[in-house]
Amino acid sequence: MSQPFRTEKGGRIDRSEQFTFTFDGEEMQGHKGDTLASALLANGIHLVGRSFKYHRPRGIVTAGSEEPNALVGIYRNGDQTPNLRATQVELYQGLEAISQNRFPSLGFDVGAVNDRLSMFFPAGFYYKTFMWPKSFWDKVYEPVIRAAAGLGKPPKNPDHDSYGNLYAHCDVLVAGSGPAGLSAALAAAESGAKVILCDEQSEFGGSLLTEANASIDGMAPSDWVAETIARLGAMDNVTLLPRTTAFGYFAHNYIALAERVTEHLASPDPKLPRERLWQVRAKEVVIASGAIERPMVFPENDRPGILLAEAGRTYLNRYGVKVGHKVVVATACDTAWQAAFDLDDHGVEIAAIIEMREVPPESLVAIAKARGIRVEAGCVITGTLGRKRIKSALLGRLMTSGQVASGGQVECDALLMSGGWTPTVSLYSQSRGKVVWDADSGAYVPGKSVQKERSVGGAKGLYGLQATLEDGYAAGEEAAKAAIGTSKKVTYAAASGGEAGEGGTLGALPHDRNASKVKAFVDYQNDVTAKDVKLAVREGMQSIEHIKRYTTTGMATDQGRLSNMNALQIASGALERPVTDVGLTTFRLPYTPTTFGLFAGVARGDFFDPVRKTPSHDWVVDNGGVFEDVGQWKRTWYFPKSGEDMHAAVARECKTVRESVGLFDASTLGKIEVVGPDAAEFLERMYTNPWKKLAPGRCRYGLLLNDAGFITDDGVIGRLADDRFHVTTTTGGAPSVFATMEDYLQTEWPDLDVWITSTTEQYAVAAVQGPKAREVIAPFIEGIDLSNEAFPHMSVKEATFCGVPCRLFRISFTGELGFEINVPRRHGKMMWETLAKEIEKHDGTSYGTETMHVLRAEKGYIIVGQDTDGTVTPQDAGMTWAIGKKKHDFVGKRGLERPDLVSENRKQFVGLLTKDPKVKLEEGAQITTAENPATGTPAEGHVTSSYFSPALDRTIALAVVKNGHALDGKTLYVPMPDRSISVEVTGPVFYDKEGARINV
C-alpha cells in the first residue's frame, strides 16, 4: 500500500474504491473522490510542473480552480488535453496525466538554466530584448521563445468529443454552493422561485466540505450539506448543477455556465457530450463565489511543498491527505492556525507557526501552547531551502526599526501560508459592477449592483459561518421576492464554530536577504516577482493596467485572483500612492479557462451552418455536377463530363446554350410576392423603373437603389394581376431586399395598402435558355401559346407544367431565347428530371453558375455585388435606361443628384479586351494609364469580371474605370507582378450587340 501521505481515516474519499493512475508514466494509486492533485499529494508528489519563464520546479499551491502551477495534460482516447488544473481533475481508474513545460523530464529540465540567467528576463523583456533586427522576429526570436516558454502542447487531432447546449430560464440563479450559496438557494426555492444552483466543484458544499471543527443545527457541516442538497433535489423548482462553472455574466442577467459532463468518468457513454454550455436568463442572481486565500510574498515562496493554509486543510479534511509530515505554518491571520490544529489532530508534526503579527489572539496561542506547538510571533519567512521540495524555512524577526533580523532555520517538508482572504469578485465585476475598497478588511468588495444580482458571504468579504449562512438566507429571500413577488421566511440554521478570524497582509514581506538576488513571486504562473512589479514602476508604468501588461502579472489563467492584491500593494508602495489610487484591473470572462468546443457547440462539421439545397440537388449529385457555395446555398457550379476539367466543361456548356439549349437551376433567386391595391405604387417608389403602366402578363427588369443612389439589387418583376406582382431578387440579396421593402413600407409609407410575402422557397425554378428553348418546354406547357407573337420576350403567365400549376416567364440572362418555369417546390424534382431528359433530345446541356456568369458577361449584364460594390450608380453602370425619367420620386432618385454622384472622374462600367486574346485578366486587378506606373500611383479602376468567352474564342473582361465611358478604344494597362498587360477599352456588350437572338 503506497500513498504514504494518506491519513488513516477521515476525508470524503471512498477508501473502498481504489483507482490506479499514472503521472508522467509512473503508476500510482488514489481513491474515488480524489482530485489528481489530492492523489498526487497522497503519494508524496508536490513537484508537478516547471514555471513559464524560469522553468523553476513548481508544486501544487491550492485546492481550487485558481491553481497557478499544477497545470497538466490528460490523455484520453488517444489525444491529450493540455493545461488542465490538477486540482479540478477528478480521479478515475486509468487516468493518464503528464506534466508540462519541461524537457527532457520534470526532474531534470534544461530550461531551468533560464533561472540562472534571470537577469536577462526582467519585466518587459519581450519589449526590450527582441527589438532588432526586425527579420529575426519570425525566424529566430518567436520560434525560440515559443519553444522555451508556454505551457502545454495543443492537441494534434480534431476534437473527437461533442458539446451540448441548453437554454434555460430561472427566477434565481445561485453561483456557488458554500454556506451562503446553499442557504440562498434554499430560501429562494422554499419561497417558490425556480432556482438553478451551480458549483464548479464535483460536490456541493464549498468551504463546508473543509470545515471539520464546526456544526450546523447540531450536524457536521458536510452532513448539513448532504441534507440541504437532498432537500433541494426533491423540489421540482430546483435544478442542481455540480461541475458547472458560471464563467460569464453578460447584459440583462444572461449568464453562461460550463457543465463538465463526462470528464470525470473513466469510460463515458460516447453519446454524452463532454461539456454542455448553459445559457441562462435569470431574473435574479446570487453570487456566492466565496473568497480565496492570498499567498504570502517572501523569497523562494514558490518551492514545491509550499501551499495555501486553507488548501492544506482542504486536502486533510476533504481528501484525507497530509501535505507533509513536518509542516511550518506561516500566517498573518487567524484562520491558518486552524490548519495547524487540524493537521496536529492527524498526527502531523507542526514544526512552527510563524505569525507575522506581534500579538496574535491569545485564545489561539493558548490552544497552540496546549498542543505543544512552537509559536513565533512577530516573525516572517525570509526564504526557503530545498531543490525540488522545501527542506527548511528561514525565519526573520520583525524589528521595530522595520528591519528584519535573522531568526534561524526551521526544518520542514511542507509550508502552509496565509496572507488573508480575497473576495472573489469576478462575476460581480463581469456584471459591470464597480468594486469598492474596504479598508477594514483590506480588500476590494462589490459595490452597487448594476444588474439584478447580489453578492453574498465571502464574495462580499463577509466571513464567519453563522453570519454567512444568515446572509445567504436573507439574499435568497430577497432574490425570490424580487423575481416572483413573494418570499417565505425559512428557519435559519444555527451554526457554531467556523469563526471569521482577524488579520491579513498585502504585498511583499520584509526580509534580510540580498534583494537583487532573491525572487519572491507575486504571480506564480507567469513568473512575476515583487522585483518585476517595482521595476515596472521605475520604468514609468503608473496605472495597474500598464503594470499588468508590462509584467504580465495577473494575466494567468486565474486572471490574478491569487496575485492581484499583492501586486497592487507592491505597486502602491513603489508609486508612493495609496492602493486605491493605483486602480484595479477588470475581471473579464471566462472566469476560468473554457474550451473552444464549448463555445463552438454543435456548430461544426455538417451543422456548422445550414446547407440549403434546391430540388435538383440529388439529380446533380447523381450526374456528377460540381457545387459551389453561394451564401448558405449549394448551387451547381458546372457539370463536367468524363475527362473534362472546369475550363472544358464551361466552354462546352456555353457553346451548347448558344447553339442549342441549356437547363439551369434558378431556384435560389429571391422571390417576393407584392400584393394589394397599392402594389404598383409601392414598386414605383422602390425601383428606378416605372411600373404603373406595366400590363398584367408583362415583365420588366427592375433596378433597386438605396437612398444614397447606389445600386443594391436587381431582378425581373412580373405583373400577374393589377394588384399582384412576382418580384425576383439576386440570390444573396433576397433577405436584405425583403427587409428594405418592409422598412419603407412600415416606417415611411404605412398608409399604402400593400403587403409583401417571401416566396423564394415556394417555387422551384428551371431556366431553359437557347435557340431551342421553346421546343424543349412546349410539350409540357399547357395553357399558353408560346409563339414569339403571342408570348414575346418579357412575358409572364400562369399555366401548367405536366399538369402542375406554374408561372412561366419569358426572360433571359444569357442573351438567348429563354424561359423560366416556376412550379410549387415539391414538383421541382419532377420538373428538373423531365426537362433534363428532354434537352438531351436537342443535344442540350445542363449548366451551372460559371457558365451563367460567362454568358451574361458576354452580354454585359451586371452582377450586383460583383460588378458593383455599393458605390456604383446607374449612370456609372451605363444603365440610365432603367430609370423612369418622369417619376417624381423613387428610392435613390434624390441621392443620384448629389454633386459627387454627377461629377467628373467617376468610375464607369466598361468592357476590356486584352491585346493578347489568350491572356485572361485577374478579377480585382488594378488598371492604370501608364504601362509601368511608379509605386504609389493611384489606380484608374479595377477588373470586376473576367472570363474566357467560347462565343468570341477569346478572353473578355468587365471593369470600372475612371471616366470609362469616354475611353472607348483607348489603351490602358493592368500591371501584374511579372508584367504589365495592355488592354483596350470597349463597351460592355461583347456578343449579339443588337440583341436579335433574344426575340426569336
Binding site: D269, V602, P610, W755, T757, T760, E761, Q762
Partner: protein
C-alpha cells in the same frame, strides 16, 4: 383540444418513417398541408375569418382552431391559415371573393415550409438545446405560436399540446433543423 388538432389537421406523413423515436421524445415529419399567408388591416378580419371558417386571432402569439382549420397569429397584420391541402384552391377563392375590394394580400405559401412534430416529455428540453425561448407552460401555454431562431435557422414553433410542438422551417432549412434535433436527442439514450 389542441392535441386533437395535431391528430386532425397536422398529421404525421404516413410515407415517412419517424425521424426520431425514443421513449421520451419523438420527431415525426408532418404531412403536406395548405398554408396561406393572409395580410390585412383590422377592417378585413371579420370577413376573412368568416370565409376561412375560423376567426383570425388578434391576441399576439395565439392561434384559433376549428374543424380542419387553424389560424395562427404571426404579427399584428399577418396570419398563417392552415387547411387540408385539397382545400387550397377553393379556400383561396372563397377568401378572395368574400373580401372583394377590402385591401388585403393572400399568398399561397404551402410549399415554402415543412413541419415536424416534436413530442414527448423531453420535447421542451430538446427544443431548448437550440431555442432560447422559455417553454414553461406558464410562459408558453398550449396554443402559443411564435417565430424564433433554432441555432442558425429561423423557425416557427406552435405548441399544440403540453408536450407536443409543431416546428416549421423553410424547406431548405429543415434538414439542418431536424438533423440537429435528432443529433441532440442522442444523449437522452445514453446509459
Amino acid at each position: 383540444m389542441s392535441d386533437v388538432l395535431a391528430n386532425d389537421l397536422i398529421t404525421p406523413d404516413a410515407g415517412v418513417s419517424p425521424l426520431l423515436s425514443q421513449s421520451d421524445v419523438s420527431i415525426l415529419k408532418a404531412a403536406p398541408i395548405a398554408r396561406l399567408s393572409f395580410r390585412a388591416r383590422e377592417a378585413a378580419l371579420a370577413n376573412a375569418g368568416t370565409a376561412f371558417g375560423v376567426p383570425l386571432p388578434t391576441q399576439p402569439l395565439s392561434s384559433e382552431i376549428g374543424a380542419k382549420r387553424a389560424a395562427l397569429w404571426m404579427g399584428p397584420d399577418e396570419w398563417t391559415l392552415l387547411a387540408p391541402e385539397e382545400d387550397l384552391e377553393t379556400l383561396f377563392e372563397t377568401i378572395e371573393t368574400a373580401l372583394g375590394d377590402q385591401p388585403h394580400a393572400l399568398v399561397d405559401i404551402s410549399e415554402r415550409s415543412e413541419a415536424i412534430i416534436v413530442s414527448g416529455e423531453k420535447a421542451v428540453w430538446l427544443l431548448n438545446t437550440g431555442i432560447f425561448v422559455d417553454f414553461s407552460i406558464e410562459e408558453f401555454p398550449v396554443g402559443t405560436v411564435s417565430r424564433t431562431i433554432f441555432h442558425k435557422s429561423p423557425v416557427m414553433i406552435w405548441r399544440t399540446g403540453a408536450d407536443t410542438f409543431v416546428v416549421e422551417a423553410w424547406v431548405s432549412f429543415m434538414d439542418y433543423v431536424s438533423g440537429l434535433l435528432v443529433q441532440s436527442a442522442q444523449e437522452l439514450t445514453a446509459a
